[in-house]
Symmetry: C2
Subunit: 250 residues, 2 copies
């Protein structure tokens, strides 16, 4: 049984807490946050603390914290013998011998249910022993476990911003466009699902569709005249141009 302390109570912390609690090989023995009110949701389920000096001994400390406080908190608990892993996509592994990375490559929102067994975990450690420990813990919740260097992880994190964060923003623009004409966003949901399903088995560049790749100038011009917000217009223009460039149609 691996004993784990989670530091943080945000979306990543909450989802990892649920995933690790459900694993037969893991025991989340404590959750830390400096604000007592953030701990309420965890109090009935495990021990909690607002005081770093009261952290229990554990095999793994999971720092589910904002990027800019990871280093400070890690240094404050450096005397612990367990592995201290952060969960950030963009931060390099710290230098201390017990530093590590336990990065779940997924988007976490409150209230959404996830199949944890499909989440890719990107692991990095400063020793083989710690790498093994992280792998055993990650494998107990997911079948997708990878050793990934800090440089590789930063590449993945950057790519993830495009395929997840920016994509979600395009969904939001679609919703705005629908709402402004009293159309339900619901009618687009099958399309959204199929667009993501297609690239599970195809390269995205092989399944590109739409006015840009067809070089359908009249649709493009009509769309641009319909757009009511300057930034939507700029996004339309830039992405249309980028599709044309990629497919050598310029």
């Amino acid at each position: 049984m691996f004993s784990i302390v989670i530091l943080g109570t945000g979306n990543v912390a909450t989802h990892l807490f649920q995933a690790l609690r459900a694993s037969e090989k893991c025991d989340v023995i404590q959750v830390y946050n400096h604000q007592p009110e953030s701990l309420k949701a965890f109090e009935e389920l495990t021990a909690t603390t607002t005081d770093l000096s009261e952290l229990m001994e554990a095999d793994l400390y999971l720092l589910c914290l904002k990027d800019d406080v990871i280093k400070t908190i890690a240094e404050q608990i450096q005397t612990k013998t367990g592995v201290i892993a952060h969960t950030s996509g963009s931060q390099s592994i710290l230098e201390a011998s017990n530093s590590a990375v336990f990065y779940p490559l997924q988007t976490f929102s409150k209230g959404t249910k996830l199949d944890y067994s499909k989440i890719p975990f990107c692991l990095e450690a400063n020793s083989e022993e710690h790498e093994k420990l992280l792998k055993a813990i990650a494998s107990s919740i997911s079948s997708e476990v990878f050793n990934i260097s800090s440089a590789q992880r930063q590449t993945l994190h950057l790519a993830a911003v495009f395929v997840c964060n920016f994509t979600n923003h395009l969904y939001a623009i679609g919703e705005t466009i629908c709402k402004e004409d009293d159309m339900p966003f619901d009618i687009l949901k099958a399309l959204i699902q199929e667009t993501s399903a297609k690239v599970q088995t195809n390269s995205p560049s092989d399944v590109q569709t739409g006015p840009a790749i067809r070089k359908d100038e009249s649709s493009i011009q009509k769309h641009m005249s319909q757009l009511r917000h300057q930034n939507h217009l700029e996004i339309y223009r830039l992405l249309t141009q980028s599709i044309l460039q990629k497919h050598d149609k310029l």
Copy 2:
């Protein structure tokens, strides 16, 4: 039994052919294309022709054609008594009394399998009688059937470009970023799926994640320094700014 002639042999024609053939209420009696080689895939399954003057009598003529030839072809077959419907998202309904629109709001690629019963069909006709006919045919393959005016359809088509075509291009950029650093695109697929799954039950603006909405300047700067292509950099900058604007973080 509704008799249907399909004009065109592209992605939309091929998928609608399969969907309508599978319906117990429909019979695709003929497929037209001006190029004989494009008809090969259909020859064993139904009658085919390269000659508009040889079109059979049918209840419905489905024009699965490029936007810029719809009007010309429709005018050439105007003497037919059946309903003549195009399948374009962006073209208005034509003026003739038997003109109509039968627009499947989905992305069609060759070789991808689709659950036709979930495709939203956006219908428009110039008479109630024709509206009923279209509705009966569409309802025989899908449970998602809507009467949508030309103006509404153009709004949906515009929104679809954002949530589908542009989204797919962001996937393609993610793939490029991965490939350039020898990382497999596969590792991003769970994230892509979950991003689309989240907005099936949430408003996209409620589930936005990532550096922009967190106003995480250090990640944003790091990402911008990693990007190797000028147009990727411009897309990153514009979409980051647009997320900040939408969520009043500027």
